[in-house]
Symmetry: C2
Subunit: 157 residues, 2 copies
């Protein structure tokens, strides 16, 4: 029996999360590069890919909702949405909740493009080694989610 399943005291939490933090940067840049290669095959920029993936996962969203979910500025999301719309990948739909902020949704073409990209990413991720368990992956999702939420609070200050 050890203390590994007890909540960490703040100082040790800070120290241990630095290890996580130090992996996020390199992982993001590596992933970004793989995504660039994959998306390039479909003719998608990384930004357009992010918008399409978000709509694929959540269904129709407004531009401000997408900005909050991805922690990027509304202006950047709007540019990506315009770019995607020009290529016929997304379209606007009336928003019953907010007349001034239309819902953005995938077109059939957009759905096909993002599905191809996500299938390729899935094929890549299923080859990850190390014999990872469901419990480990669930713990990872919980830790990253808590960090994201923690940093959100700071950003809101």
């Amino acid at each position: 029996m050890d203390d590994s399943d007890k909540p960490l005291p703040p100082d040790e939490l800070g120290r241990r999360l630095t290890e996580v933090y130090d992996l996020v940067g390199p992982l993001y840049r590596r992933a970004q590069r793989s995504v660039e290669q994959g998306s390039a095959a479909e003719g998608l920029s990384v930004g357009v890919r992010a918008v399409l993936a978000l709509l694929h996962r959540h269904g129709p969203l407004t531009v401000p909702q997408m900005g909050r979910a991805q922690a990027i500025s509304r202006q950047f999301v709007q540019r990506m949405v315009n770019d995607a719309a020009e290529h016929g990948l997304v379209e606007s739909a009336p928003n019953p909740a907010h007349r001034r902020s239309p819902l953005i949704r995938l077109t059939g073409e957009g759905r096909a493009a993002i599905t191809a990209v996500l299938d390729r990413e899935h094929a890549l991720l299923r080859e990850v080694g190390g014999g990872l368990t469901a419990a480990e992956v669930a713990a990872c999702v919980r830790v990253l989610g808590a960090m994201l939420e923690g940093l959100d609070h700071v950003a809101d200050d």
Copy 2:
């Protein structure tokens, strides 16, 4: 008793790791923004901060070693190193192993600057909530490490 401590079969692994992957992007961008704010206080760009943090963690490194560790191009690392050297934060030292690729190391001023930034980040991370345990954080580090290694292999193809 469930199967949560058994290695995941590849298809489910791919599916579950997508959840992790989907958190890495937003987390990176949020963290980047916090780092920008923190580093800005010390007058460091995000790139220079990454170089100094790497030298702080690993001791003296060559430019190619730093590029590999951070998954960024050698050219970009070299620009950051030049920038840091101009500000007196790093200096070159002879490399016994490779005459043509000097070791880069922190100056006293560089060490003070990066320590201040890391202290601030540590203070931020120690406030992360959710009652995270040591076992969860360790699992997260293991999962992210395996993903990074998996994507490395792809990039090496």
